[in-house]
Symmetry: C2
Subunit: 256 residues, 2 copies
DNA sequence: CGTCGTATTGATAAATCTCAAGCAGCGTGG
DNA sequence: CCACGCTGCTTGAGATTTATCAATACGACG
């Protein structure tokens, strides 16, 4: 079986008590929580939503009235300048919590777009204060997720600001690979990679052409392979060193 | 009286009930809160700290056991690559809350450095969960601040990734000016600006020399002035347009 | 087979970086 | 009081990186 023949789009459970049968909960990447907290989260859950690749999860400049947890698939946050230049701010995958910023941004918000078919669990933003008030643990976990998200953006800012083209690509490939693997999405060394070169260029702050030439070079050195939407890291050490990007093993993450 | 003759370093009140006499509380930039919440915050407060310009508030790669609220002065968060290249992630001023990320980052942290003399209110990170648990409102406000901080980094990432040198400088000047003014720190059109060109270069992802030449050009066009550590925007509209950086009026901010 | 979107490649232009040097302010020691 | 040394700002020249333009290739799909 080839990795790229695996199914990717995983749907959240339907029917009563969906959170009971949540596939992410059994994933060791996420912190296990007592029944009571699980019930609390389920009480705030308003259903699920599916977005196809390329579809908008949250439109730019428009405050969303909903919050989402990604259940499966890859998405990304982005902003565009008025002449169309786009910057991808961070990539999102299973377990990431979306939409918090909108609460405070008065419409000056980023957009969120699906890079592959994405399934989401939906919450009402109007419930946010109730979540904090009645379930402080939930509030703490949301803050945890927000802080982690900021750390990701910090790293991307270092990349865009201070790394050259090869270092940027190396860093990005390792970053995507590690995040997917941590979330338990690696299959025989491959992880799902539905991004086009334009996405990579927009994430790294490079032009499409230069991104292509740089990726070609690293590919030719045998550092990685991308085939039919799947990524494999051939020489992790070389990419880590080139990108000056090392990461300690990550602790389990809260899941809302 | 020239603006640059004004005192800048404001010390937090000493003695019993310091939060009662907190100068930031009377600032309309910050949300007014009931006595009870103020008492709660004070009960977590562990004192104050002064850091001179250039001093470290939090050392890079080292998890801080404390959390801080900036009381006065300018600071900045940064990361360095192993060969010394430095990226400034965001600037910090009165009301900003520091150190949250460290809770989750396992030592992979940014540093925080004072750009001018800085005064801080100190909290124990060990109290963080108690804060959320006993004072959900406080937890909510901390999340608010974390989300706003992430929005700042988002904007900086767009700048480093997709703006050219002139646009970057224009954006940065307007950004600093607006934040200081929102915090009530503007005096006759001037705001305190203790940054060197190296700071600006490191924030924008440019070399020092190119930063200098670009700033010179905008200065020569009469768009701004920097004198003795104070900044004045001469042509806000031109800088806004050049930087493609518009901001709506900002609501009052929570203060911890 | 034609069409479309994406990937690839070469040639050239533009932006940015690096190196090197000079200048100005400022605190210090003689 | 002044020469000295230090730090930060400024400027020019040339090297390097990255962007832009233009053309082709390739694969999916109707």
């Amino acid at each position: 079986m080839k990795a790229f023949e695996l199914p990717i789009a995983l749907r959240p459970p339907e029917g009563p008590n969906p959170c009971e049968r949540c596939a992410l909960r059994t994933n060791p990447a996420f912190i296990d929580i007592p029944q009571e907290q699980r019930d609390a989260i389920q009480s705030f859950r308003r259903g699920s939503r599916r977005v196809d690749a390329g579809g908008a999860i949250i439109r730019e400049h428009r405050a969303s009235t909903q919050l989402f947890t990604i259940y499966s698939g890859w998405a990304f946050r982005f902003k565009t300048l008025s002449d169309g230049r786009r910057q991808i701010l961070s990539f999102l995958l299973a377990g990431d919590f979306i939409g918090l910023q909108d609460e405070f941004a008065d419409g000056q918000t980023h957009g969120v777009e699906a890079a592959s078919e994405v399934h989401l669990c939906v919450f009402d933003r109007a419930d946010l204060w109730t979540m904090f008030h009645t379930q402080p643990r939930l509030g703490y976990d949301i803050t945890w997720l927000a802080a982690r998200e900021e750390k990701l953006v910090d790293d991307n800012l270092v990349t865009a600001g201070r790394r050259n083209a090869s270092e940027r690509v190396a860093m990005l490939l390792m970053h995507i690979y590690r995040r997917a693997r941590h979330a338990g999405l690696e299959r025989e060394g491959w992880v799902h990679f539905p991004f086009q070169q334009q996405h990579i260029a927009d994430a790294l702050g490079l032009s499409l052409v230069h991104t292509n030439k740089t990726m070609r070079r690293l590919h030719h050195l045998g550092l990685y392979r991308i085939e039919r939407g799947w990524l494999r890291i051939q020489d992790p050490q070389a990419l880590e060193t080139l990108g000056d990007y090392f990461e300690r093993p990550v602790r389990p993450t809260p899941l809302v």
